[in-house]
Amino acid sequence: MAMEKILTSAVGVPESWTIGSYEKRGGYAALRKALQMEPAAIIDEVKKSNLRGRGGAGFPTGVKWGFLPRESNVPKYLVINADEGEPGTFKDHLLMELDPHRLVEGCIITGWALGMRACYVFIRGEMFQEAHRVQRAIDEAYRAKLLGENILGSGLTYDMYVHMGAGAYICGEETALIEALEGKAGQPRMKPPFPAVVGLFSCPTIVNNVETIAAVPTIIERGGEWWAEQGCERNGGPKMYGVSGHVRRPGVFEASHGVTLEELIFSDEFAGGPRLGKDGKPKKIKGVIPGGASCPVLTPEELGVRMDFDSMMSHGAASASKRPEWVDEQLWTDSLSWPGGRPRGTMLGTGCALVMDEDVCMVRVAANLAHFYHHESCGQCTPCREGSGWTARVLDSIEAGTGTERDVELLLEICNNMEGNTICPFGDAVAMAVRSYVLKYPEEFYLHVKQGGCPYPHW
């Protein structure tokens, strides 16, 4: 099923980042249409489209826009989250590099719909090329009178600015990002108040992901219903997915929201299946992180799941894996479910999956993630700051062969104590990620303890 490409339509087009190329592909027609529409009608189309935020949490975009006060005697701001830093995620950078005008057009339409004054695109500091392309697109848009005063005679005055981050994963969290924009250390704020009420410069602010806003021109051009039909229920539109790791063709792929993880990994249209071993045969897959480091890992048996926000949440619970007799029964049960008893599934996250084959050591993977989190914790909350470092040290000792069975239990205890006890969801992410490796691959942890070392090849 080859479908029309929307979000990746620029791939392969020469000079796709210029305004000329974008207009040739129909660019800025949606803006002209939007400026003839009532702002409320635009918000309605976005609601109808079932567009869900593509920064990871999947919050319905139209609903979020509805939280912004209609009247305000201070300016309202749009902030684009282009901080893409979740390990294993690499989609937004492609949009900015190849189709920056799609983002700019989406930002102007959103500004008109929500009565905003200006937009800041917060791009992570390492993305020099992408920032250059977005800035160039903004400059071209000013020259074409698509930005600035009285845009296309509509009376809309709207400015766009690029703001570069400086290397801190936590700035992807929307309130930390706002702090960074204000010139402070990126430390998340307590919510409420939510940014829609008190955001950038204490003004009402909407923070949206790059891919989310890049969808807006097409929604306006073709209508919210059309967009909704391209996905599955409650998850509208085509989506950008990625596959990295041990596959034959790693890359970014656009597909309907209804695509399964299995198709993405195995289909020749996408990643083309696992890489080949020395014997020329495909290697066995051991695990897949479905949507960035924070998403609980899935086993090869769990790949048939549809890649939409709701299916993923209720999928891949570890209840299927058997409790090893050396793990305390109550601790194991507590670790399987949310407080209240609902089984913990995984998450769609950013939709960029990492495939790991049989050569990979899952203890090492968990240790790598724990070190990442320890390094990136902003340090405000004790459970997060100390818990991330503690899990890293325990995992290191298990990997090195000096860990005990008790240490494996300790990992679960630390994770359970971190969750729900922090200012931002980063602490939960550490817990969800690390715990999933213990629950899904307990036998690997056991093997390390019993053999006094790592049984897998080094990478």
């Binding site: 830093g85 294993g88 390492e126 703001h163 250390a185 790991m356 790598n368 990478w459």
Partner: protein, 175 residues
């Protein structure tokens, strides 16, 4: 105070200020620190003091921010800053091996600069190019597709990269 922005740097500073509301000048801090790093090579304490004075902020606030973010180099770096991503996608594709190979070839440990001042080797976290792992960033360029170390221990793509940089030809165009 002896540090000053160059004429071009001063123009850029003024344009940075223009991006933020007048009563929120502090918002210019991150871009101004980036500018200072470009102008002065790295963000020394003196550079922080200068930035603080230009933005009418206490130096302690600038220090707090400059040390929170990893991209501000608090020490001088070599002409080519090689940053190897060791986050999970790159790790399973051989990032640790790449770090060890570069350490051996450059005769430095991660975090250090070669004696001739040409290369600084650092570890980095995910650079959002995970499909091209193991990923390495050299100053403002991504390398991408460095392949893997061969069974005989050689790594032609990495050698070619170092040769190209040493010869002043920059990062080879990605394949």
């Amino acid at each position: 105070m002896t540090l000053h922005f160059s004429e071009q740097g001063e123009q850029e500073f003024q344009s940075i200020l223009g991006r933020y509301p007048e009563d929120h000048r502090r918002a210019a801090l991150l871009p101004t620190l980036h500018l200072a790093q470009r102008e002065f090579g790295y963000v020394s304490l003196e550079a922080m003091e200068y930035v603080a004075s230009r933005l009418s902020l206490p130096t302690s606030k600038v220090l707090h921010v400059a040390t929170f973010y990893t991209m501000y180099n608090k020490r001088p770096v070599g002409r080519y800053h090689l940053q190897v991503c060791k986050s999970i996608s790159c790790a399973v594709m051989g990032a640790y091996g790449l770090l060890e190979y570069l350490e051996a070839r450059l005769e430095v440990e991660r975090g250090e600069t070669t004696g001739d001042g040409l290369f600084t080797l650092s570890e980095a976290e995910c650079l959002a190019a995970c499909d091209k792992g193991p990923m390495l960033q050299c100053n403002e360029d991504y390398t991408g597709c460095l392949g893997a170390r061969r069974e005989d221990g050689t790594w032609p793509e990495v050698d070619a990269l170092l040769d190209s940089l040493r010869a002043g030809r920059g990062v080879p165009v990605q394949g």
